[in-house]
């Protein structure tokens, strides 16, 4: 899967989980850029992304995400 496809799907997950139609993610987006993205909803986002792509992040990966791009890279690596 191409990175922009993954990004688009991740964007859908964020819109649904955070209940905000206006979210527009880029690879550089961080939690600071999205109002509803706090430490509590972060858990929800991780679980929702895992379900969407039917993957499991390792704890190391979760800790290493600096931005949405990192998350997309990890998803692509897992999808192989």
């Amino acid at each position: 899967m191409e990175k922009n496809e993954v990004l688009a799907l991740v964007n859908e997950v964020f819109i649904d989980a955070l209940d905000n139609e206006d979210i527009k993610l880029t690879e550089a987006t961080t939690a600071n850029d999205v109002e509803e993205w706090d430490s509590l909803s972060h858990i929800q986002l991780i679980v929702a992304v895992e379900k969407k792509f039917k993957i499991r992040f390792t704890s190391g990966e979760i800790h290493g995400f600096k931005n949405v791009g990192d998350m997309c890279d990890a998803i692509i690596a897992k999808l192989g």
Partner: protein, 579 residues
């Protein structure tokens, strides 16, 4: 178990809760509880309840519950939820020396007892405690069963001791995390990575299950629970169609997949023995539909187990309405089982309040599915519960007989009613408390009393307590009405509580009760009786209660008064006996 999604619950938080009744809850935990609180509030929307939740600061259980001046007590909650995380408990256990391990559970329980007794001396609210998922800790393998200093032994002991505590104290409910975890499996209820990364002790998929369970407890304690199960017959209670296949070919017992239906019937029988009213609603010829109950050797349920039997060609919704008219309980306390999705949808649409489980396609799956729904949560039991089937059968008989009398009076006097009137005593306390908690319709002020509050009312010199048993020639109704009078001044006594079971409506019982209230007021030397009607969503039927009994309206809205001296006794068809 119906799957609920955490995100869906969270989305509910943005919706409009106005108009929903408020329930005040305190949540205390030694692990983060924010997501639990979000999920609970969100679930409240589905149940039409607005939970106002005070979430104590992290790890403040002891500090808050031991201090009479704490925020928790100042908040005056209806329920206190206490959550000790299993992971925390395990850490504490592992830190103990070998010699301290065998008394770990007793020490823990002793501490909880102290905490809960502090709660009880500061408030009368109900405590909901989450018990512990058993933990496969892999230290001793199965041999953990052979030693009392294993974590497995100690955690099981804690869970058992919690049950003993709940038996002893009337206001402790256990939210059975252990049971839910074993039903769903550790892999579902716990996510190691979320625990390590975010200290989340329940997985996101488990949280909705936990809050549903907590909410079941809350609703039942608030008087909202199911009292009746209505059963379709063909392919629901037995396999096949009795009208086509005949009695010898329906699947029950050893025939075909009969075992699925036999086991379902055993379960229904257990519910019936517990006090759930069992009714039948089937599109069938009545004679043919009754035949298996009367003649089939493998049927578990028999005619005497069924309170109301409706087999005809009317619509299911009409028959359920007829059942409701006989039983006089709310549609929101009924469960309807039917294998046919069309009938289910029809009933749901016609009677939205009724619970209609979407039975799985395969009858083999019916029972496990139904058990997983926790349809019959309850917060107290009384001796009356077990007699209910018989009582409602008697009701059904009375309904039929009533049609044969020319007028009401003739019918009422033919019932040969006798009522025993007595002050609250230790035998009636559980039932009185239960009635104050359950009665919603014929209840003037809807004040809920716990058993301990009922007991203290009976000792209160400024209170007059009256309870009413009723029987007629068809059988016992049991304790069906409760009155509490409170002295307001030397001249005035106020009706604090007046409630009645709707089963005895239209028997002149309310007039009989008023006669006894006036007599009690006279005996106490009072000149005036004051009554108040506090409207709720459900007690519309008594809005004009005082007016119709001859009370005069007072200036304040919904306040009524009656002059004791001018009262002339109502004619009633109920004979009074004193206890």
């Amino acid at each position: 178990m119906d799957t609920l999604d955490f995100s869906a619950l969270k989305k509910n938080l943005k919706k409009d809760f106005s108009g929903f009744p408020e329930v005040k809850i305190c949540v205390l935990g030694d692990a983060p509880t924010q997501l639990l609180v979000q999920a609970l509030r969100g679930f409240g929307y589905n149940q039409k309840i607005s939970y106002t939740i005070l979430e104590a600061d992290f790890d403040q259980i002891d500090r808050q519950l031991m201090d009479p001046a704490s925020d928790v007590y100042a908040f005056n909650p209806d329920f206190i939820i206490v959550y000790n995380a299993q992971q925390k408990l395990q850490q504490k256990f592992y830190k103990k020396k070998r010699t301290e391990k065998e008394s770990f559970a007793s020490d823990f329980i002793n501490h909880l007892e102290e905490l809960f007794s502090s709660v009880n001396s500061n408030t009368s609210c109900r405590i909901i405690y989450l018990n512990f998922a058993e933990s496969l800790d892999g230290v001793y393998g199965n041999y953990a069963n052979n030693i009392d200093f294993s974590f497995l032994y100690q955690i099981r002991k804690i869970n058992l001791e919690l049950m003993n505590m709940a038996i002893k104290t009337g206001n402790l409910s256990i939210c059975d995390i252990s049971l839910l975890s074993s039903f769903l499996g550790k892999q579902v209820v716990f996510s190691p990575s979320l625990y390590i990364n975010s200290n989340l002790t329940f997985s996101l998929d488990f949280l909705p299950v936990v809050v549903k369970n907590i909410s079941d407890i809350i609703l039942s304690a608030k008087g909202k629970f199911n009292k009746c199960i209505i059963l379709d017959l063909d392919n629901t209670l037995w396999g096949g169609i009795i009208g086509d296949d005949g009695i010898e070919n329906i699947q029950i017992g050893d025939l075909g997949i009969g075992k699925a239906f036999t086991e379902l019937q055993y379960w229904v029988m257990q519910l019936k023995e517990r006090g759930i009213i069992v009714c039948v609603c089937s599109k069938n010829n009545e004679e043919i539909a009754r035949e298996p109950f009367e003649k089939h050797p493998d049927m578990v349920l028999r005619m005497e187990d069924i309170s109301v039997f409706m087999a005809n060609w009317e619509t299911k919704a009409d028959n359920i309405r007829a059942i409701q008219a006989i039983l006089n309980i709310g549609f929101d306390s009924m469960v309807f089982l039917d294998d046919n999705p069309f009938e289910r949808e029809f009933v749901k649409k016609e009677i939205p309040e009724i619970t209609v489980p979407d039975l799985p396609e395969d009858p083999a799956e019916y029972l496990l599915y139904l058990q997983s729904l926790n349809l019959f949560e309850i917060s107290a039991l009384s001796a009356e519960d077990e007699k209910r089937t018989q009582q409602y059968q008697e009701d059904a008989k009375r309904t039929v007989i009533k049609k044969s009398f020319a007028n009401e009076e003739e019918f009422l006097s033919s019932l040969e009613m006798i009522s025993e009137v007595s002050a609250f005593n230790k035998f009636s306390t559980p039932r009185v408390a239960q009635l104050t908690q359950r009665s919603n319709q014929f209840n003037l002020r809807t004040i809920r009393y716990s058993e301990s509050e009922v007991a203290s009312l009976s000792q209160d010199p400024n209170a007059i307590t009256l309870s009413y048993n009723l029987q007629d020639k068809y059988g016992q109704y049991g304790l069906i009405s409760v009155v509490v009078l409170k002295k307001k001044t030397d001249r005035i006594v106020a009706i604090d509580t007046w409630l009645m079971s709707c089963r005895v409506l239209k028997r002149g019982m309310e007039k009989f009760v008023l006669n006894t209230i006036v007599a009690a007021a006279q005996k106490g030397g009072f000149e005036w009786i004051e009554g108040e009607y506090i409207p709720t969503a459900k007690n519309d039927m008594v809005a004009d209660h005082y007016k119709s009994l001859g009370f005069e309206a007072m200036e304040k809205e919904n306040h009524w008064q009656l002059n004791v001296g001018n009262y002339s006794k109502f004619e009633v068809y109920i004979q009074e006996v004193k206890a």
